[in-house]
Amino acid sequence: MALSDDDVRRVAELVRIGLDESEVKPLGEELSRIFSWIEALREVDVAGVAPMTSVVEMQLRERDDAVTDGDCRDQVLGNAPAADDGHFVVPRVIE
């Protein structure tokens, strides 16, 4: 399956990657090659095979409901480009 230039632009937009127009074609070719590998995998007959969710037989581990974390605002805000009065500050977004 070959991706169109518009597909590439749209994926880039969805994942918030700024693309130079000159990058669109080469990226499209690379992505198309990845898709062709996936298509090769799809030829395997997996009818009746349950999806494998883990390489070892494991159960999802659950936590007890106790407050054991948080209360570390300085760390949480430590890397923020902008913070004010305990909040992250971002360019205005409003609906």
Partner: protein, 490 residues
């Protein structure tokens, strides 16, 4: 019996089709995937762990209690609890979502189809289909009023466990939607899986609304986001449906979009259109294994459920002889069934229910106070009904006493004594008042004698007025009949 409300436009009648997505915060101490606290009202960003802030390398570990609450809610909705469910990533960018994705459940939710029985004020009952319930993380909160150029982000809510409860499009007007939300809230509160506090955001609803000619195929729907009170939900649905009717009748087409309700202007408006907003690219979260539930766990949680609202309703009808409507109202209002049972001890349940549903709820509604803040306690209301039942006061006087109880919080006995409102049971006193009324109104007496028997009621009114409402009305009626018509059968 009437049906659901419709909207009558310029070209005829339109039917509404409504489905609700309710986000209920699962009652837990800590978050869905981190050990940070969930309590309401903390300082900004204090109840945030490095997991909630999506720092690199942090991994989610699920809170077993949130899973339990989802299972209990599913069981209370009579729904199938899925032994196998999967957590997916719903991908989108917004500043209130530090991960860049919300962990939710898409193709394999923890709870499947169930139903909720909704009793309507006009006596109809609607059984509303529940499509599913799934677990997901809440997002953070954006604050826009601290700066003209920036938005502030508080992540205290980020990662709080939500149960998203999705109804089928079975609701047909805003009254039904309001009744559904009230009933769901009562159910969640009864089993303790959500505190149901809409002011604090523990319970929020999105409404999918479309209109069509009665019985016609579905129209294009709009989604109304984040309705945080029953009143706003109802108003938003009505105003949105009228907007859609206006558009269609003008010959245009409704655009499928997400809209916000503005309570100040009582209108809905489109959210800024985000072309890619609906391409969420769901995929299974590689950080979380599928959730497997044992039958033993589900049965243990089933046993933990208290008496459910519909069971309480049946019991109130059976044990206390309540009308189905009164019983439904009592179970739909938080804490009302318990209030009723406390007030009804040793009294006529029907009369007590009527006082609660009509008088107390009316007064609370007007004062915009919840039952929990009622100035009239269950005990005091029971005492008031007791005073009616033992003949101390009449129904009419009781209404005055109730008003004063509501205003001052005094006991009914104290009010009756202080204001001398005891009902006149003394036949001699009543006879004297009747004689006075008859001799003061010879004209009306003549009319009665001439066969205009309706005048009897007018005389009862005169006697009640003369005794300032304190005469026992049944006694007045009987004595008056006796006097006017000594040989009569009545």
């Amino acid at each position: 019996m009437t049906g659901a409300r419709t909207i009558v436009g310029a070209t005829g009648e339109w039917e509404l089709v409504i489905g609700l997505e309710v986000h209920a915060q699962a009652a837990t101490r800590s978050k869905l995937f981190s050990g940070a606290a969930t309590a309401f009202g903390a300082e900004p960003n204090v109840q945030v762990s490095l997991v909630d802030a999506a720092m690199p390398g942090m991994l989610p570990v699920i809170n077993g209690a949130a899973v339990d609450q989802a299972i209990r809610t599913g069981l209370a909705l009579g729904a199938e609890v899925n032994r196998f469910s999967v957590f997916d990533r719903k991908n989108y960018f917004y500043p209130d979502l530090p991960q860049g994705y919300q962990i939710s459940q898409y193709r394999h939710p923890i709870v499947g189809a169930g139903e909720l029985r909704v009793d309507l004020p006009d006596g109809r009952t609607r059984v509303v289909g529940i499509e599913r319930l799934h677990l997901e993380q809440d997002a953070g909160k954006l604050v826009h009023d601290r700066s003209a150029t920036d938005s502030h982000v508080d992540l205290n809510r980020a990662g709080i466990p939500l149960m998203e409860i999705v109804s089928r499009p079975d609701l047909r007007d805003w009254e039904e939607a309001g009744a559904y939300l009230r009933k769901l809230r009562a159910l969640l509160r009864a089993i303790g899986s959500c505190d149901g506090n809409m002011e604090q955001g523990s319970l929020r609803a999105d409404a999918n609304v479309s209109v069509r000619r009665p019985g016609a195929p579905l129209g294009t729907r709009c989604e109304l986001k984040n309705l945080n009170s029953v009143r706003f939900l109802m108003r938003a649905i009505e105003v949105e449906a009228r907007r859609q009717v206006g558009i269609i009748e003008a010959g245009e087409a409704v655009r499928q979009e997400t809209r916000l309700y503005d309570p100040q202007r009582n209108e809905t408006r489109a959210m800024r259109s985000k072309e890619d907003a609906h391409d969420y690219r769901y995929f299974p979260d590689p950080d979380l294994l599928p959730l497997s539930l044992s039958d033993a766990r589900i049965e243990r949680l089933r046993d933990s459920l208290p008496e459910l609202p519909d069971e309480i309703r049946e019991r109130l009808i059976g044990e206390y002889g309540l009308t189905p409507y009164d019983a439904s109202v009592l179970v739909a209002e938080p804490d009302a069934a318990g209030f009723f049972e406390a007030a009804a001890q040793g009294r006529s349940g029907k009369r007590v229910a009527n006082w609660i549903v009509t008088n107390l709820f009316g007064a609370l509604n007007e004062a915009e106070r919840p039952l929990a803040e009622s100035p009239v306690s269950a005990e005091a209301l029971g005492q008031l009904v007791g005073l009616i039942e033992n003949g101390t006061i009449s129904d009419r006087i009781a209404r005055d006493v109730f008003e004063e109880m509501f205003r001052t919080g005094s006991s009914p006995q104290a009010i009756v004594e202080a204001r001398g409102l005891r009902q006149i049971q003394d036949a001699d006193a009543i006879d004297a008042a009747i004689d006075a009324a008859l001799s003061a109104n010879p004209g009306q007496l003549e009319q009665y004698r001439a066969g205009k028997t309706k005048v009897l009621g007018w005389f009862v009114g005169q006697v009640m007025k003369a005794t300032r409402g304190q005469a026992n009305p049944a006694l007045v009626n009987a004595r008056l009949r006796q006097k006017l018509d000594p040989d009569g059968a009545g």
